[in-house]
Amino acid sequence: MNIKQKSIPEHLEESLAEVRQIAENSSDILINRLVIGNISCAVIACEGMLSTAIMTDLIIKPLTEISIQLDSENLFQHIQENLLLSLDRPVVRNYSDFFKLLYSGFVILLAEGQNKALAFGVQGYDKRSIGEPSGEKNILGAQDGFIEAIRTNMSLIRRRMKTPLLKFELSQIGNLSQTDICLCYMTDRVPPQLLRQIKKKLATVELDTVLSTGYLQSFLEKCRGSLFDSVSLTQRPDVLCSKLLEGRIALLIDGTPFVIVIPKLFVENFQTLDDYNNKPYYAGFSRWIKYLAFFLAVLLPALYIAVCMHHPELLNSTLVLILTEAEQEAPLSLPTETIFVLLMYEVIREAGLRLPKSVGGAVSIVSGLIIGDSAVASGLISTPMLTMVAISVIAAFVTPDLNAPITVLRLLFIIVGGLWGLFGIGLLGMLALYNLCATENFGFPVTAPLAPFISKSMRDVATRVNFQRMQSGNFTVEEYHEQNS
């Protein structure tokens, strides 16, 4: 028998010895012995997982003030029914639950003569304060974002959706980590089949530990070879609530501030919260800027290379002469120059992410000087090409969620554009389009509502109509579901 499945013995000393053995005398286990009404008891806690002040006030003090003489069974009954020591008071019958609760910040009470223990939820571990999410910034929306503590995140959602239709289902995942996860959905809108399929998928996870969303994402995404995500991540409670209202399912994971939302649509990469705070005409305009930015990010360097190398007749004569003069001095071929600059940009971006904030500024100065100034002045790279790459890179920042596919596709397009011109770009364009169209998850195609085309949804894709028109939609994501997937 697995030692953790073993039930708690009645003898206190045996029980404590078992605890020390299972925990391998770990230094963060605190065992305090006390006598409550002539019965030897022990209070066990994990250091750092609870607030000692709260534990003393809410647990230790009331327990030590019990004066009536009871046997251990009646003692536990008295504590559970008459003393409200905490709101969360599960009964522990085996060591698996014992340690799960202990490491979750519960205080466990063992008593001589009892083959069970009482647990009291007085979690008080240090956690980050709620602040603006780092990735999803906006101007007019809320400035709070999810943090690593799952229960805090649940409260952030609940504060915005004060309806009994919003349901949370807590469970644990990870054989060793026993990480808390929470499925969150609106019971009246969620497609039941989607919920069943997700639960079935999560039941198949056999990981030892789940430390971030990436661990579970691959289990929830069906299309392995797809460049584009079919599940989305968000750090914003307001964005999550809007998605829940559309019938989507959220998966919160303890220990990460990102929440997985299923299913995802490709057009969501171009929607931000500010679109719903600005006037419709400006929201529509900024939406189209984002679409344009995506195409610029992926295709601009490749089109520049293809046109310069294979189809210069597409440019007017003045432009051709300017580009010819610029490229004459460059020692490398156009695609090589472009790939070199893009790779340097990726290196600088990675460096900027990993460096401490205090030296982050130096990275931008050095990269600007080295690449922007010295390389051009020395003739290593040409100015028009650098301009194209810079526009492409800046355009990619407009849709940060698509950073990975944009980076890969941009490089691939540069290669095929350099080799085969617009013919190659057409071939790779079809491959990318097919890859996007083939991506679906749990029967929801990522390309909806563009393909299959749903005209009603264009009011929030091609433009953003005002809320008076949107409120009558009663839209749920189930409209996009393609059966028999």
Partner: protein
């Protein structure tokens, strides 16, 4: 394979039809405009049996499952059509289009692309079709904008020359009806509307190309042999530069879609006939098409597809419908007698 929407079927048929129109040769007589309209009406008539059958779900699939030899005939038709498409690509594409002078090299690049596009299934193709339609519409608008200033209506001489030829040419290049017939069981929504809309759209596009080639190209149309490519050369929206290289994008993407649909349908039919080998059909059929195109005689293949198109797309559904109709009458009569 799950269902596709009628709008997606429309997009697929129009894209295949657009490729056929791009490859139409020698259309420079105004009488051919009337011939095209007549050809379109003839095809609407051709489609009546299959549309009547489509009201009863599963007609085509039941037929293929019961008559496997017929399924093989359809597969052979699509293989021949695919091979012809490769030949059309080599004949039609101007020298600036393919990056290699060797035909095989260009064909191999296309096959490598189609290997992936046909492996993801017809559903992905159906989703891709609306995006391609949008790109196609943009390219047609650019073509019209470029041709606008050069249109000379006086070049149209209203004659009946070419009327009968154009009906034949138009019907020879209408193999999309086979796609419609094969996929009809898998379409949800208004199938009649999708097919009729496709026929009208294709006719409209053909008439547009014809009209522009006569009014813009005039006598130059006879030189190139393919009016669409002559138009892309002559219709330049801007004075300082040539924009015909942009059509390479549309041309290549249309062609990939065209071949992918054919390969996808062969795969779909193989699921009924050779379920154990269905995952190999895409690479095998693509290679077979390329080999056939390289080795076989294009005139023989053209003749076979021309003869088999009305048989497989019109006669077979007609006979099937007549059989169903006679069965239903017989059933009614026996019910009446029993009563």
């Amino acid at each position: 394979m799950s269902k596709i929407r009628s709008s997606q079927l429309f997009c697929i048929l129009v894209l295949c039809g657009a490729w056929s129109v791009i490859c139409i040769p020698s259309m420079n007589e105004s009488g051919q405009i009337l011939g095209t309209i007549a050809g379109c009406l003839l095809q609407i008539l051709f489609c009546l049996p299959m549309l009547a059958l489509a009201k009863r779900q599963g007609s085509f699939e039941k037929l293929i499952q019961s008559q496997k030899w017929l399924g093989m005939l359809y597969i052979i038709f699509f293989l021949l059509w695919g091979a012809q498409s490769f030949i059309q690509l080599w004949e039609v594409s101007p020298p600036q289009l393919l990056p290699y002078s060797s035909k095989i090299a260009g064909g191999i690049l296309i096959i490598l692309t189609c290997l992936y596009t046909s492996s993801v299934g017809l559903k992905a193709t159906a989703r891709c079709a609306p995006f391609m339609i949008a790109l196609f519409i943009i390219s047609v608008i650019i073509l019209i904008l470029g041709a606008w200033k050069r249109i000379d209506i006086s070049r149209i001489a209203f004659t009946r020359t070419g009327f009968w030829d154009s009906i034949t040419i138009y019907n020879n290049l209408s193999c999309e009806l086979m796609i419609a017939w094969v996929l009809l069981d898998r379409v949800k929504g208004r199938r009649n509307l999708a097919i009729n809309s496709y026929l009208l759209t294709k006719a409209g596009f053909c008439i547009l190309i014809l009209f522009l080639s006569i009014t813009v190209g005039g006598r130059l149309t006879e030189l190139t042999g393919y009016p669409f490519f002559m138009l892309t050369t002559l219709s330049q929206p801007l004075q300082g530069q040539r924009a015909d290289a942009l059509y390479i994008l549309v041309f290549v993407m249309l062609y990939i879609m065209h071949i992918t649909i054919q390969t996808g349908i062969i795969g779909h039919l193989s699921e009924f006939l050779f379920p154990a080998f269905s995952k190999y059909t895409a690479p095998v059929s693509l290679l077979f098409m390329l080999l056939l195109a390289w080795l076989a005689d294009s005139n023989i293949m053209q003749s076979i597809t021309t003869i088999s198109l009305p048989v497989l797309a019109f006669l077979v559904p007609l006979l099937l419908r007549m059989k169903q109709f006679s069965k239903s009458i017989h059933k009614e009569q026996s019910q009446h007698e029993a009563f």
